[in-house]
Structure formats: C-alpha cells, structure tokens
C-alpha cells in the first residue's frame, strides 16, 4: 500500500471518529467527530470550536406577501401587511413600527357669513358697532380670512364714512392695513376689507363705523347686501 496510511495504523484516521453521513472531524484536545447539522444550518464558531447554527434570515421571518421586516431589539421580526390605506408609522426610539389609519389631513375650510339687511346710521365721530357681524366657530384654531362688503357714506352731505373691522371690539387694522376703508361718496362705494387673523372660537368679527358731525350710513343698495364673510381654515 503506498502513502503514509496503513491498515494497522488507524489512530489518526478520520474515519475512526466519523460514524454518519455528513460527519466531519474537528479537533479539541484530539480529533473528534463533528456531526452533521440540520438542514439550513451554517457552520460558525462558538467557544473556539466549530458549531452548527440556525440563522434568522429574512426568508425565515417573512411569511406573507406584503410583510415588512424590522429589528425588534431581540432579532428580526415580521410586521404583517396592514389594512388598505394604512400608513407605516414609527413610534420612535425603542419601539416597533406599526401600521396606522392616517388622520383625515389636508386643509379644512369653513365658510361663515353675516348679513345685515337693515340700514344703520350713526352720528358719532367714534367707531361704533354696526351690527354687521359674524361669530367665528373654528374649534381647532387656525386662521380666518375676513372679507366685508357694504356701502358706506353720508347721503346728507356726500361725505365718506370710515369703517374698520373689529375682532371682539379690538381693531385688527394694525395687522392688516387693508382692514380699514374710507368710503369716497354717499351712493356707490363698496369698501373691501380683508384681513387674515388668528381664529378663536367665539370671536365676534364686526364692522365698526364712524363719521363726522353728520349721519353716516351702511345701507342696502340694490346691487348687493352688506355682508361679512369669514373663511376659516385649519
């Protein structure tokens, strides 16, 4: 027999320790049998010796179409597919992601209208409430775009009237100069006041007016009705 191995010298032969199909030999203090592992296992090292290990792979965690793989802190984990329309939401550090039904989102707009069909007049030179008003109803904060249209003036002498938008009796002119208007004549003028303000539930937006020593008017003309409109958006 050629080579270094003889029938009688079997102490170093691997087959002295291998007994089963797939066995291998490793060495600790002497050659020893390293039995075959299980299907899918991989060879790794633990405690300075080879060992078979079962790895957690994506393929072993995911089971269903649409599943999402994530780290759970103790290993890979499966997040099953959510409900149609759900959105994937992180819960921040130390927490797992989840599927959630999204909030309605988008911009909500609410239109309010106040109308005054009766003629109003006053003789004062200080701003007074005209009754052309509306109450903001926004319960979620946000803003409101205010627009008021009306005739104002003095039919007696043709003078203009000064009008201003008030929020709970406080002029909002300072934050938007276009919120104050002076009518140019008695019969055919429509001040257009626009202001964007922080919307507070229950706030009363009202047109105030003042004149000089003679009566000033907000009146219904044939073409349009005095009105104040608020577009609440949040």
């Amino acid at each position: 027999m050629s080579g270094g191995m003889t029938k009688t010298d079997t102490s170093n032969l691997a087959d002295i320790v291998m007994t089963s199909k797939g066995d291998m030999v490793d060495f600790d203090t002497a050659r020893q049998r390293f039995g075959i592992g299980s299907t899918g296992q991989v060879l790794t090292v633990a405690s300075a010796l080879p060992t078979w290990a079962t790895l957690t792979t994506a393929d072993s965690v995911l089971t269903t179409q649409g599943d999402v793989l994530y780290e759970s802190g103790s290993g890979l984990a499966r997040l099953g597919f959510g409900t149609t329309g759900d959105v994937l939401t992180t819960k921040g550090t130390g927490a797992n992601p989840v599927w959630e039904t999204p909030s309605s989102g988008g911009l909500t707009v609410n239109k309010l209208q106040g109308v005054n069909t009766a003629l109003f007049e006053t003789t004062t030179g200080s701003f007074v409430a005209t009754g052309l008003e509306l109450t903001l109803s926004n319960e979620s904060g946000g803003n409101a775009l205010i627009n008021a249209t009306f005739n104002a003036g003095n039919t007696t002498n043709g003078e203009g009237a000064r009008c201003v938008l008030m929020n709970d009796g406080v002029a909002i002119t300072s934050t938007n100069l276009s919120a104050e208007a002076i009518s140019s004549n008695s019969t055919n003028y429509m001040p257009l006041n626009m202001a964007t303000i922080a919307d507070t539930d229950g706030s009363v937006i009202e047109v105030y007016m003042k004149g000089a020593a003679t009566a000033k008017m907000i009146y219904s003309a044939t073409n349009y009705t005095p009105q104040i409109i608020a577009m609440e958006f949040y």
Partner: protein, 98 residues
Amino acid sequence: MKFVIDKKLTCTFESSEKCGNDIRTKIKSLLGDNIDSVNYHTSILHKQNNHKIWIFLYDKTGTHESEAQGKNVFNESSLVKKFKGTMPTESELKKALK
C-alpha cells in the same frame, strides 16, 4: 347714559334718510343746546317695522359711550363733551319720539 328705544317704523331705502332725520330732529328738540356727536350721539337701525334707536348722552367730557354685542363700551375721545343740563328720562325720550 344709554337709552335704547324700539319703534314700529317702516321706511324704504329711498325714504330712510328722511326717516333718520325726523328721528334726530325729535331728539334734538328735547335736548336743547346739546350738540349731536359732541354732547350725545344717536344710532339708528332701520329694521322694517322694528326700528331700533340708540341714544348715548355723554356723562363725562372725553369719554365716548357706545354699545357692542349688547354691552356698553367706553372709549377716550377728544371729540366728546359732557352733556349739558339735566338728562331726560327714558319716558321723556319715548314721548319725544312719538
């Protein structure tokens, strides 16, 4: 001092100017030397068959009085002078407006 008087009056847009002038003339006749917009002011809402008339007689020079959302509002105003003489009662004003 505020007075609010309701009157069952009806006017049109065209006649509203005369309507307002008539009301102010009657008030002025009762208030003597007091000047409209200086010692007092009036506001009129020409609601059909339900006119509402506000009459504000100024209690104090420099303090303007008005109403907003049903509440009295006082503001400083250099245009305002104290009402002269004895202020009329509500019944006197109502009588003058008949």
